[in-house]
Structure formats: structure tokens, C-alpha cells
């Protein structure tokens, strides 16, 4: 750092004035490409998915979907160890899965640059919690950069690779939904084509046994002390004095809100949110009358500042819930009334399973049989909403199987005769396999339903190890789910077509009754990918019994005295005809 290692030096390489309107996520991929990244491995997760999808468009980069975030992180670590710049991208909860290799990669350090990009989801637009990834930077002693717009996404990613190599550590990039999914103008640069560094065996550095790890832990501490000092002059930590009656310490998207909400306030914008430049913050504090910290989610910066003896306020105004906004900041600090959505008596429009979704029939059958449903993460989690209301619990990727096992241990084997664990193909590969092994090993009687729609659905259709294609759409070996389950020791594996409701019900009756672990695979491609060109169904002489409404299909609409099928939405899956007790619904005629 004495050699000014950490200055941003991309000016010389910018390619004229070529610009593009990029998502923050796309800009991270662009930055990684310009930084010469060679390997990207990720598991999809909103709001991070487009980083990896964009990286896959660069032919110089080896980009693949991984089975889960832990595998992705290990692949990327291996690539960095073997001399190539490498990156993995994940949503905030993905970091939980990746945490095991990450914490120790902070000890070993890297050979070539390794960047871990994690996208937090304040307000939980598409997530099950709003955990704050900045805690991981502190816990694992890994530096973390936080860009505030797409240009910074590109610049900070390049800086992160440089820092990773200069400091010999993985480096985090932290995004939030409003940075990941906002487009702004980015100046495009050229790729820094780096040769792969030589691979060196260095067991003292890379084999983490107690004797070696104790030494490396000292290096972690030294590195962090060095960076804490260097942070005070790091060019991405920017102090700007305006009106000095109020100074705001902030970072990422919150900086943008602060500039709109309090345009005259002095600001200290932290480009690196861990470690904190405490001397710079003290300097800033000495120049302003009132010091405020504006940060989304947890009050980490505020707490560290207070621990360092710097008087400041923050969370007492902004709280820890959800996203901040210009309005929230103005309401908290300027006492401006918080505007409200004026028309909140309107019917809500929650997301729904699509017309023709193959998951629908399975959840309908769960309801018919009165089963308890241990659920999981995917489009099918939407079946928890009314009117299906067919899910009892949903925790994290792959948890359905473990939850069913635990429930059986609490309530006894009979309980499993009225319970199923349900999860998608991609979720099963991600972290359901080990739980299935566990259930067989521990001789439980649970029934697992794998919804195999041949794709990773909710995140926008990514390929996975069971789909038969790689990230580029090229053929890839597909995991044979039946054989996989059998090899885990499951004796009864049944495959059903989820459009055939009788077959689904029959399989559920038989398999839940068994006194051992069984698996039902409900197999049919996602309705958005496998366009069925069947004419829409029609209803004649409807008795208005409401049986078909229990399917919760957006194409079947309730009227005063009857139901109607919306021909513009119906894709002709025919499930409604199967459930109509009066045979009033039939296949339509091709127009």
C-alpha cells in the first residue's frame, strides 16, 4: 500500500466513449471481464443471478452453474489457487451455504484474485430473510466493497481483484437489490488479458491443519491491521464537505438516497464497508456538528463508530427493517410526513403459479389428501398462498426433507403417513441429497416429492445438473434422479406426470402409507418453457360448485353464477376437466 497499490487505475485503459446502460449485475460481470477473470461459478439466486448470466456471454471466461454456493466457492477457490482470477456470485442466503470454505479461504489467501459477490435483498422482494452480509466480512475477516451504481459496480469489481492479489485474500463485493437491478450508464473498457499464474505447492499456506492455520491466523490479523490503516486513504472512501451542520456516513444505495433526501448535507461515502477507515471517520466527525449514519438493515457502521468513541446517531431514526428510501430518510431526519399509497383498499395482486404450471396438481392433491407439507424454496413456495394454502413450513434450500425427518422423530412414525417433504429438482441437487441420505440412514418413513420441472424456475430458468444442459444451453450429462435416489438407499421411487391427478393421488396414498423412506418424482417441464399448443378448455352448463377453483388457476375465474375460463390465459393443461364432478369442462376446439 506504501506503493499506492490500491489506487484505481482504469483511466488509461478506457476505450474512448463507448457506454452502455447496464444493470449493476451486468456491470459487475463487465468489471470482472475487464479484470481478466477466467473462471466464474455460481448458483442462481435473486438478486444476483444476472451477474453470472452476463459473464457467460464472454467467450474468454469459463462460466458454469454449480450445484450450490459451497461448491461454487470451492471451484472458484481452486481456480484462484491454480493461478486464474475467479469469481462467484450469490444471493445473501447463499453466503450461508458458502461460509464454510470462505472462512478458511481467508486464512489461506489466494494465488490469483478471488472475488465473492453477494447480493442482499433488503425488504425481501424475493427472499426468506433480510440478513446483512456485512456481518460475514467482519466474522471472516474478509474485506468488503460496496458500490452505489453500475459504474461503481464495474470499477469496484476491478479494484476487488487487484486488492485480492495485493493483499492475498478473497474480497467481497456487496450489492443490494436496488444496485443489482438498477440500470445506469457505464463506460466500457477493454479486457486485461492476464496469463494464468504458475501453480505452486505450498502446504504451509494451503493445507489448513492446526499447526499451519495458527500461523496463517496471524497473517489474517496483520493483513487486517494493514488494511484498516490503508482504508483511511483508499480513494473509494470519499469525504465531501458541504453544509457542515450535518454530516452523514453512508455507503452503497443509501448514499444515493441521502444525496436526494439531504442534498446539502456533508457526506462520507464508504466504498469499502469493511474494514472501516476509523481515522477518516474521526476526521469527518470533527468537521461536522451533527453526525448521522445512514445504513440499511443492521447498524454495523454505527456500532463500530460508537465502539471507537465517535458520537453518532443512526438506527434510532432509520430502524433495521426493509429498504430505506428518500422518503424514509426525509421523514426520519426532517420530520416530513411519510407519503402513503393512497389507494390501499384495492385488491392485492400476489404472484401466482402460472396457468399450466405442473406444480399445481401436486399441491391440489396434497390438499385432497389432507397432508402436512414440509416445503422448500422455489416457484412452488407460492402454493403456500391462498387459495391453495398447501404448505406448512419453508425455511431454506433443501430443508423440507430434514424438517419431515425431525417431525417424525418428534411425533412418531405414524406422523409421516400424513406428511410429505416437497422440493424442486434444482433445490434437491442443491442441498436435498444429503438430507435424503440422512433419512434413509436413520431408517425414517418420510415421503419426499421432487417436483422435477427440468429447470431452475423462480430465478428465471437456469440450467442445473438435472436438466441436461449447461449454462450455454449445450448438452450436459443429466443426473438421473431415480437412480440417484435408489443409490441413496430409497427402495421405492415412483415417477408420475403431475397433469395426471389420479396418478399423483394414487402415488401419494401408496408412498405415504409405507413404513420406510420413499420418493415420488413429479416430472413435467416448466409451463413457461414447454409451450403446449392445445386449445383452451371450455365450460358448459357450469353448476357453480367451485371444485375447479380449488386448483388456484389464474385462468379460471369466478363469476356470480358460474366460473369462466379465460381463453387468453388457458394453455390447455386439462387439470380442471379432471376435477369437475359434472364433466362440464372439456377440451376446446382449435380455432
Amino acid at each position: 500500500m506504501e506503493k499506492n497499490d490500491l489506487s484505481l487505475s482504469q483511466e488509461s485503459e478506457e476505450r474512448g466513449e463507448e457506454t452502455a446502460l447496464l444493470l449493476g449485475n451486468e456491470a459487475v460481470a463487465q468489471g470482472a471481464w475487464e479484470a481478466g477473470v477466467k473462471v466464474v461459478s455460481s448458483y442462481p439466486g435473486t438478486p444476483s443471478t444476472e451477474i453470472t448470466e452476463t459473464a457467460a456471454k464472454f467467450p474468454e471466461v469459463n462460466v458454469q452453474w454449480a450445484s450450490n454456493e459451497k461448491v461454487a466457492t470451492e471451484v472458484v477457490f481452486g481456480a484462484a489457487l491454480a493461478g486464474a482470477r475467479a469469481m462467484t456470485c450469490m444471493k445473501h442466503v447463499g453466503v450461508n451455504v458458502a461460509a464454510d470454505p470462505l472462512f478458511t479461504a481467508a486464512y489461506t489467501g489466494v494465488n490469483a484474485g478471488m472475488v465473492v459477490c453477494c447480493a442482499d435483498d433488503p425488504a425481501m422482494h424475493s427472499s426468506q430473510n433480510e440478513q446483512d452480509s456485512r456481518y460475514y466480512a467482519r466474522a471472516a475477516h474478509i474485506p468488503m466493497l460496496e458500490p452505489a451504481d453500475s459504474q461503481e459496480c464495474k470499477d469496484f469489481t476491478k479494484l476487488a481483484f487487484q486488492m485480492s492479489e495485493d493483499l492475498d485474500t478473497p474480497v467481497f463485493i456487496r450489492l443490494t437489490t436496488r444496485v443489482s437491478h438498477a440500470r445506469s450508464v457505464v463506460t466500457l473498457g477493454v479486457r486485461d488479458e492476464l496469463s494464468v499464474k504458475p501453480y505452486h505447492k505450498d502446504a504451509m499456506k494451503y493445507v489448513m491443519m492446526p499447526g499451519m492455520a495458527r500461523k496463517r491466523h496471524l497473517d489474517v490479523q496483520k493483513r487486517e491491521e494493514f488494511l484498516t490503516e490503508a482504508a483511511n486513504t483508499l480513494p473509494i472512501n470519499v469525504m465531501k464537505l458541504r453544509d457542515t451542520s450535518m454530516g452523514v456516513v453512508t455507503s452503497g444505495i443509501c448514499y444515493q438516497y441521502v444525496r436526494d433526501a439531504l442534498p446539502n448535507a456533508s457526506t462520507l461515502k464508504l466504498g469499502m464497508v469493511y474494514p472501516l477507515p476509523m481515522k477518516l471517520i474521526e476526521n469527518f466527525a470533527s468537521k461536522v456538528d451533527r453526525l448521522i449514519v445512514i445504513e440499511e438493515l443492521e447498524g454495523l457502521i454505527e456500532r463500530d463508530m460508537k465502539a471507537a468513541g465517535i458520537a453518532c446517531e443512526g438506527k434510532k431514526y432509520t430502524g433495521i427493517q426493509g429498504e430505506l428510501s428518500v422518503e424514509r430518510i426525509q421523514s426520519a431526519l426532517l420530520n416530513k410526513p411519510m407519503p402513503e399509497l393512497s389507494a390501499n383498499d384495492l385488491p392485492a395482486r400476489p404472484p401466482v403459479l402460472c396457468p399450466g404450471c405442473p406444480h399445481r396438481g401436486v399441491f391440489y392433491a396434497f390438499n385432497r389428501l389432507g397432508l402436512r407439507v414440509m416445503g422448500d424454496i422455489g416457484c412452488y413456495t407460492l402454493s403456500a398462498l391462498a387459495p391453495l394454502s398447501a404448505m406448512d413450513a419453508c425455511l431454506c434450500m433443501g430443508a423440507s426433507i430434514g424438517m419431515a425427518s425431525g417431525a417424525e422423530r418428534a411425533q412418531g412414525r405414524e406422523f409421516s403417513k400424513g406428511t410429505v417433504a416437497v422440493l424442486g429438482d434444482s433445490t434437491f441437487i442443491h442441498s436435498g441429497i444429503t438430507s435424503l441420505v440422512d433419512a434413509v440412514y436413520n431408517q425414517e418413513a418420510i415421503t419426499v416429492v421432487i417436483l422435477d420441472n427440468r429447470i431452475t424456475g423462480m430465478t428465471g430458468h437456469q440450467q442445473n445438473p438435472a436438466s441436461g444442459k449447461d449454462i450455454h444451453g449445450n448438452p450436459a450429462p443429466a443426473v438421473d434422479l431415480e437412480k440417484l435416489c435408489e443409490s441413496c438407499g430409497v427402495k421405492h421411487v415412483t415417477v408420475v406426470d403431475p397433469f395426471d391427478l389420479k396418478a399423483v393421488e394414487k402415488a401419494l396414498r401408496e408412498e405415504t402409507a409405507r413404513d420406510e423412506v420413499s420418493v415420488i418424482i413429479a416430472r413435467r417441464p416448466c409451463a413457461l418453457l414447454d409451450k403446449i399448443v392445445r386449445p383452451p378448455y371450455v365450460i358448459e352448463n357450469c353448476k357453480n360448485c367451485g371444485a375447479c377453483m380449488k386448483l388456484s388457476c389464474p385462468a379460471i375465474e369466478h363469476r356470480e353464477d358460474r366460473v369462466e375460463i379465460n381463453a387468453s390465459l388457458c394453455i390447455g393443461c386439462g387439470m380442471c376437466a379432471q376435477v369437475c364432478p359434472f364433466k362440464a369442462i372439456r377440451e376446446g376446439v382449435r380455432a
Partner: protein, 198 residues
């Protein structure tokens, strides 16, 4: 005609093509060397839920989100969603609306009813409402998916970008094989109200 400095909100139902509309607007502003930010929604709500996209154009844009009550324009792909987002629109702001109705699940199941005249919701008082049947105009142009271009055509009457600038931005953002249909839909939208008014 306003200066091409504006806050705009696009609302609709997941799957209706709102993202393409915002992408074209962003491209248009970038080509005109204006500052621009577009905030999109990806993920869960794209499965048929309410979706909202923010477009901010100006000399220097900080927040990617339009503050409540600050939008100059609200472009709505569905009538109920226009009423839901009315509070974004400033007094005197313009609502560009597709009159199409898509029932949300509570209406489909009969636990709630679709409001009678969402485009006349009291929350829209003091705003100018320009509504067209964008779905029919899109179908007329050759594709039901081109609702977004019909609405942009209607919006274009308010913004001081040239026809050429619009068509360039559209060409950059849509697949080549759909360009002709999309341009036709844009022109249908642009001509729609003047035809209705005459």
C-alpha cells in the same frame, strides 16, 4: 412538450413486458446524453404479481427510485395497477394507461371484486388520464406482446425526443425479427389518441 428531464413509473402485471419498455426509455435517454437510472423488478413478483419499474432522467440522477408524488408520468399496463400506483404521480402528472383488466387472484377466487372504474379512482384526481385499449392496438400491429410499444407510442407525444431517436432506441432493444411489429405498435400508440380525439 416537456424537457426530456422526468421521473416516470411503469406498473403492470408480471409477464406483461414492462421491463422492455423501461429498457427502451433508458436507452433513449442515454443516447441523448442525459443522466438516467432505471430500477427494475426481477424474481418472485414476475410470476403474475404487481410489478413496478422506475425511470429517472435528468442531468444527474442519484436515487434510482422515483419518490412518491414526484412522477411526471405513470405508464400503466393494467387498469387496477394504475390506481394502485396513483400516489407516485404528481398533481398535474400524466397517466398513460392500458384500459385492459387482468383479474388478480383474490378477484378470481371471488373473495374481492375488481373495482368498477379504476382509472377514475379518487387517488387519480388532478392527474391527466390518457387511456387506450393497448392490447387491441398491439394485436392490430401483429402481436399481443407489443402492448409495451403501444404505450410508449402514446407516451412519446409528451416527450421531446424525435421520431428517429425513438426508433433508434427501439431497434437497439428489441430482437430484429420483431422490430417491424414493434415499430408498427409504437406508431399505433402514437396515433391512437389523436384518432380518438378527432
Amino acid at each position: 412538450m416537456s424537457k426530456p428531464v422526468f421521473d416516470l413509473v411503469i406498473v403492470g402485471v408480471g409477464g406483461q413486458g414492462t421491463l422492455l419498455a423501461s429498457k427502451i426509455l433508458g436507452q433513449l435517454a442515454m443516447n441523448a446524453k442525459l443522466g438516467v437510472k432505471v430500477s427494475e423488478v426481477h424474481g418472485m413478483s414476475q410470476r403474475g404479481g404487481s410489478v413496478i419499474t422506475h425511470v429517472r432522467v435528468g442531468e444527474r440522477v442519484h436515487s434510482p427510485l422515483v419518490a412518491m408524488g414526484n412522477a411526471d408520468y405513470l405508464v400503466s399496463f393494467e387498469a387496477l395497477e394504475a390506481a394502485r400506483a396513483a400516489a407516485y404521480l404528481k398533481q398535474g402528472g400524466v397517466l398513460i394507461a392500458n384500459s385492459q383488466r387482468i383479474s388478480p387472484m383474490p378477484v378470481i377466487t371471488g373473495v374481492a371484486s375488481y373495482p368498477n372504474n379504476p382509472l377514475q379512482n379518487p387517488a387519480l384526481a388532478g392527474r391527466k388520464v390518457e387511456a387506450v385499449d393497448a392490447l387491441s392496438l398491439a394485436v392490430e400491429a401483429g402481436s399481443a406482446k407489443a402492448v409495451n410499444l403501444v404505450l410508449l407510442g402514446l407516451l412519446s407525444r409528451h416527450l421531446s425526443f424525435t421520431d428517429e431517436e425513438w426508433k433508434h432506441a427501439i431497434a437497439v432493444c428489441v430482437p430484429r425479427r420483431t422490430l417491424e411489429v414493434n415499430i408498427r405498435a409504437f406508431e399505433n400508440g402514437r396515433a391512437s389518441l389523436s384518432a380518438a380525439e378527432s
